[in-house]
Amino acid sequence: MNTVTYVFGIIAALIALAVVIESLRRHHLRERHAVWWLLAGLAALVVSVFPDTLGWAAALVGVTVPTNLVFFLSIAVLVLVSIQHSGELTELEAETRTLAETVALQDLRIKELEKAVADALQPRRNP
């Protein structure tokens, strides 16, 4: 590995981290969604700065080609985050339904109240 690839790895990891942190700062990302990206970004930064940690970790779990460990972990993070997003989406849909029902029921109550008020005022003008 030459210096250019070394620096390229570090810069890529830093950009990923910067995007996550800036999104957090601007309230574009909630903490519980950001946490996986933060961890992945930090791991990428550690591996790019100290490439030996990757070889060590690969040997530890018995992966012959260290790059395969990177692919495996990246895909694992992506799959887990997608599952989390699907779960959140399901929850949001359920909440939207509840809100729509509440609004519809309130609308009905308001209409009934308006009618009751109108009826109560009516007889004086129109016996």
Binding site: I21, L24, R25, H27, R30, E31, A34, V35, E95, T98
Partner: protein, 248 residues
């Protein structure tokens, strides 16, 4: 014009409640008995039990959220209600009976010269204790937040707190809803908006439903989440306070 209302009469006691049908009515009654002339708003945070009826039968006004928003979300709704109805101060009290309403009067009294008053559990009154990593998390949080708010705070995760008019106006817009954000990040937001913060020692009763967890795994998770909440609070840009018009 009648007599000018006292600080306590201009205070709204907000109690976020999620499935607290067993304790909420007793807490509301105790609040009314301890703080005469108090106004009490229970924010029913999407409960599936009878919290709503229980709170109403005890005489509280109930704001019923159709979905669960968490303590932070429920409190922001409470702050908005207070602002709309013209209350000057808001005191947050847990609906599980953990907070002793006897402390409310002192919290409100200190609002005379501070914007935010925390009821601190470890300041010598009562016998509430926490050990191990959870305790360390609280100590670290306290020391960082003490520096930020320029006052000595010993219990920054306390939910027993009083907000003055400036804090109510700020929190009605910007009260965090993330777990631990409602206590930790709200302090950072307040300090950055140049609100003054102080604490008062209060007695805290052990929760009706058991003791705080001492599981080391849970404590470590708590530590990590507290650290995350603080980190996020600190990197976010400060929010300036738009000076509210205080109506008496």
């Amino acid at each position: 014009m009648g007599v000018m209302p006292t600080a306590l009469e201009r205070t709204l006691i907000v109690m976020p409640a999620f499935n607290e049908e067993e304790s909420v009515a007793a807490v509301v009654r105790e609040v009314f008995a301890t703080v005469p002339g108090a106004s009490c708003l229970v924010v029913d945070d999407g409960s599936v039990d009878q919290t709503y009826r229980e709170a109403e039968s005890a005489g509280a006004t109930v704001l019923r959220l159709p979905i669960n928003l968490g303590v932070g979300g429920a409190m922001r709704a409470g702050f908005k209600y207070a602002l709309e109805k013209g209350f000057a101060n808001v005191v947050q009290v847990d609906s599980d009976g953990q907070h002793d309403p006897a402390g409310i009067a002192e919290l409100v009294e200190r609002l005379g010269d501070h914007d935010l008053v925390l009821g601190a559990r470890f300041a010598g009154v009562g016998q509430y204790t926490v050990h191990g990593p959870r305790r360390w998390a609280m100590v670290v949080l306290s020391s960082i937040l003490s520096r930020l708010t320029k006052t000595k705070l010993t219990d920054t995760t306390s939910g027993f707190r009083a907000s003055g008019p400036r804090a109510v106006a700020l929190f009605a817009q910007h009260y965090p809803s993330e777990y631990l954000g409602d206590t930790v990040e709200s302090l950072v937001i307040a300090a950055r908006a140049k609100l003054t913060v102080t604490q008062v020692a209060v007695a805290m009763r052990p929760r009706a439903g058991g003791t705080p967890s001492h599981n080391p795994y849970k404590a470590a998770v708590y530590l990590a989440r507290a650290g995350m909440a603080l980190f996020v609070a600190l990197i976010r840009p400060p929010i300036a306070l738009r000076e509210p018009v205080v109506s008496l």
